[in-house]
């Protein structure tokens, strides 16, 4: 454990078995390894379970309104380009209510990193359908299973000339850590999608323990080293710029 996490605020509010603690720990390790500190780094979150992320970091952090982490972060970066500005937020926050900002900040190629913890559901509000929910998934607002194609985050984040998109999971812990590191080092807009599920709200499949969830993630995705469009079940990194 390094001093970039507010230890006095541990344990976090997240449910037992939730992947967010793993992400928090590895994220802090990446910052420490890259020499990022209170003097040069700001973490910004939106609203939701992942929205609480910024508050656990032991450096200046901002917890914005729902969906606005990216424009707040862009304002910070433009006001002080010397700062490393990193957004950590959820899929509903970044691709639903904040989707327009994702499209445009990535188009402007502002030099920030966005880490999206994608659990395919609105967890904090009780488990409703998100833009990321997979077809067939039962949620509080799709009781018969979703029949809508989920948002294509890879597609959205690779629309422009310059892009950095990585997909990983907390079950592939070293891969996740290295991709976060690559994204933070990237000059320009970078996006890391961390695929997981909600330990409390996800229904099909549902998970009894964190270990069960991690094993399912490990089984569901495979790694690729190739710099090309990732298939749905692949983890890797696509970049240009």
């Amino acid at each position: 454990m390094n001093d970039l996490i507010k230890n006095e605020r541990m344990p976090a509010i997240w449910c037992q078995g939730c992947s967010l603690g793993i992400v928090l720990g590895q994220f802090a390790n990446v910052l420490a390894e890259l020499g990022l500190s209170k003097e040069n780094t700001v973490v910004v979150s939106g609203i939701g379970c992942t929205g609480r992320f910024a508050g656990y970091m032991n450096l200046d952090s901002v917890h914005t309104t729902h969906g606005r982490a990216i424009p707040v972060a862009e304002g910070i970066k433009r006001a002080n380009p010397e700062l490393n500005v990193i957004v950590v937020s959820g899929d509903g926050d970044l691709s639903g209510i904040g989707g327009n900002h994702l499209i445009h900040s990535s188009r402007r190629n502002i030099d920030i990193t966005v880490i999206c913890v994608n659990n395919e559901i609105y967890g904090l509000t009780g488990g409703q359908l998100a833009p990321t929910t997979s077809i067939g998934s039962v949620t509080m607002t799709s009781p018969k299973g979703s029949d809508i194609e989920p948002i294509n985050l890879q597609g959205l984040c690779t629309l422009n000339k310059n892009y950095f998109y990585a997909r990983t999971t907390p079950a592939h812990i070293l891969h996740m850590k290295e991709r976060i590191k690559d994204a933070v080092k990237w000059k320009g807009f970078s996006f890391v999608e961390i695929r997981t599920r909600c330990i409390t709200r996800s229904k099909n499949p549902a998970f009894k323990t964190g270990q069960e969830l991690l094993e399912w993630l490990k089984k569901s995705y495979k790694l690729t080293e190739e710099n090309r469009v990732l298939r749905e079940d692949e983890l890797g990194m696509v970049k240009n710029g």
Binding site: K38, S61, V62, V72
Partner: protein, 336 residues
Amino acid sequence: MAKTIAEGNEAIVKGALKAGLGFYAGYPITPASEIMHELSKSDIAFVNAEDEIASVSMIIGASLAGKKSMTATSGPGFSLMQEGIGLAHMMRVPVVIVNSQRVGPSTGMPTLAAQADMLQAYHGSHGDFVSIAFYPNSAEECYKYTIEAFNAAEDARCPVFLLSDAILSHLAESVDLDAIKVQLKERKIKPLGSGNRHFTGLLSKDGIPKTKDSLYYRQWYKSYKDEVMSAAGRYNFYEYIENKNSDTLIISYGILSRAVSEMSNEYALFRPIRVFPILDELREIAKKYKKITVIEMNDGQYATLIESFLKREVRKIPVLGGTVSADEIRKELRNE
């Protein structure tokens, strides 16, 4: 210094730059767009954003990062900014938001002036908060009170509104801006990147959320309100023209007060420049007059607030539809 010609929007830009503006984000909208046209030519950090929600969020971020920040819009954009306005109150972030008003609701009459966002400026965002707003009535005043808006934002650590309208924003007047001297307030809060502070829209104490503590909320709200009210109290700008021969005090503000100013021989006139919070000075002044009349370019929004502030009935003269004529106002005043 020789006089030059400036429109209201241009004077707002000059005032903002004089005040030390370091960041602007905005979305094009009539009748405020000239502000972003001008600022895009300046050296400050500037974003032509995707919408007004992004604009207000960006200026909050930039202000936290240490730059005096501003956006400008009109009614439809001001509605979208209400979310960020609440956030800036909760996080105590100084920002300036210009609202050049036009006829609504919705897209309304985009090129015609109104003063119909007064209640939105007073309390458009959800939850309880204290609004500070200035409303100049000339190009020179647009310059001066833009600077004062920046100063008040720094003092009160909250968003401050500079209200204008489609007429004032585009009113070209002879101005001598160099003759206007305003002491500038510097930033006191340390910029991001200097500690382990947590800025959050949640009720929090020392960066730790306190979302189930009613008692703490009450204490927090009281100290927040005291601080903002006391800062606002250092900006008590108004104009009062006494008339001992009249039993009527006319209250008007912004561009409409220019038409009403012709009536000082017949009536006493009060013009709030700091329109919010409502000026305490009005209480004593109003006592001298049997009748209070509020003339404004909306259906009685400020009048309703004045009624509750003075706890007495107020005559409302709405000037609707985007055009102003002193003759019509006079006729209406006589029509009692």
